[in-house]
Amino acid sequence: TKEQEEDRIKALPGQPKVGFSQFSGYVTVNESHGRSLFYWLTESSSHSPHTKPLLLWLNGGPGCSSIAYGASEEIGPFRISKTGYNLYLNNFSWNTEVNLLFLESPVGVGFSYTNTSSDFEESGDERTAQDNLIFLISWMSRFPQYQYRDFYIVGESYAGHYVPQLAKKIHEYNKDCKNPVINLKGFMVGNPEMDKNNDKIGTITYWWSHAMISDASYNSILEKCDFTAERFSKECNSAIYDAAADFGDIDQYSIYTPKCV
């Protein structure tokens, strides 16, 4: 389509020569509010990208589903050099296996924007899932070659909410549709938020079992915290805060990795 061609990336500044196509741009998800989501598609580098599935990646946060993580740090074909001026190839890019679609969502993340400032104060799970579904439907009309193609959603962290919620929306949309174009096959989530109470107890247990916190801190948290409560008590928050002092200066997201100074 013409719109598709307008979104074609000729080349990114500082990028090495590659044999796959890339597209990026905006899809409006709410006309009256002027809400638009930014996407970046890197097609498969295989000899037959048209036979490869489409994979949508969402990050966590909320507020972090930007191209920095999925595309530039994790599964995308390009890594950014230390100077921020050149790109180099990721030898383990997932676009060898799939066509990769990165979405900056919800509005306020990355390049995604809204013309209605109150939208920033109303972001939540429900609207994010709804906007992402509208995005997908519109995006597939811009890229009709991906209609009916095997489609997967993958994400991490708070995407433990985004991914199943979007999958559910698609599933319900498809049930009401005579000829559904989104051929959702499945999803995968990594280190996901799944269930507040069990996630919290599991986290405290990990801290203790990996010798990150003392027995005293561990027992104090167990004594003072009720993770089934809607809001955690002051005493609970204080016990967690005190326990965090046991960590020392480490990267909590990777406990044996030196912290970025």
């Binding site: 909320p62 191209i67 921020g84 997932w94 799970d125 069990n198 996630d199 990777s254």
Partner: protein, 151 residues
């Protein structure tokens, strides 16, 4: 530190032009993580548990895999195991070590309707910390096949 490199790259005007981004001149810098989105998030609209949705989608027949980098302490492997245990799924293939190259890539257990995988030595961003293992994981997921038992 790679997040810092992204902050430089995606704020360059020529990069934004090449990506057809920011044509409305957004009144804030591109950032990897939006604090304002996080700070204003409507938590009342955030369910305490996603497990009912997992149950519904397992019943719908979707392929569902959950993986966990085992050096993450923010949403660690024990958190995911405790949560998954509440789904009361039947074990289809018992817990076993899987291989990435000639090393153990992690452990896995296949339930009816859901596959759980740990990735050894990976933090919160699994494909960043263990790219080769993550690619093997993706291939198995796409193929709907169990992870390799040997090298």
């Amino acid at each position: 530190c790679t997040e810092n490199y992204a902050e430089i790259y995606y704020n360059r005007p020529e990069v934004q032009r090449a990506m057809h981004a920011n044509h409305t001149v957004i009144p804030y810098k591109w950032t990897a993580c939006s604090d304002s989105v996080f700070d204003n998030w409507n938590w009342r609209d955030s369910d305490n548990s996603m497990l009912p949705i997992y149950k519904e989608l397992i019943a719908a027949g979707l392929r569902i895999w959950v993986y966990s980098g085992d050096t993450d302490s923010v949403i660690p492997v024990t958190a995911t195991r405790f949560s998954l245990s509440k789904l009361n799924l039947t074990v289809k293939t018992r817990w076993y070590p899987w291989y990435s190259g000639n090393q153990v890539g992690g452990r896995t257990e296949v339930y009816e309707g859901l596959t759980f995988v740990t990735v050894r030595g990976a933090g919160h961003e699994v494909p960043f910390f263990q790219p080769q293992s993550a690619l093997i994981l993706l291939r198995s997921f796409l193929a709907g096949k169990e992870l390799p038992r040997s090298y």
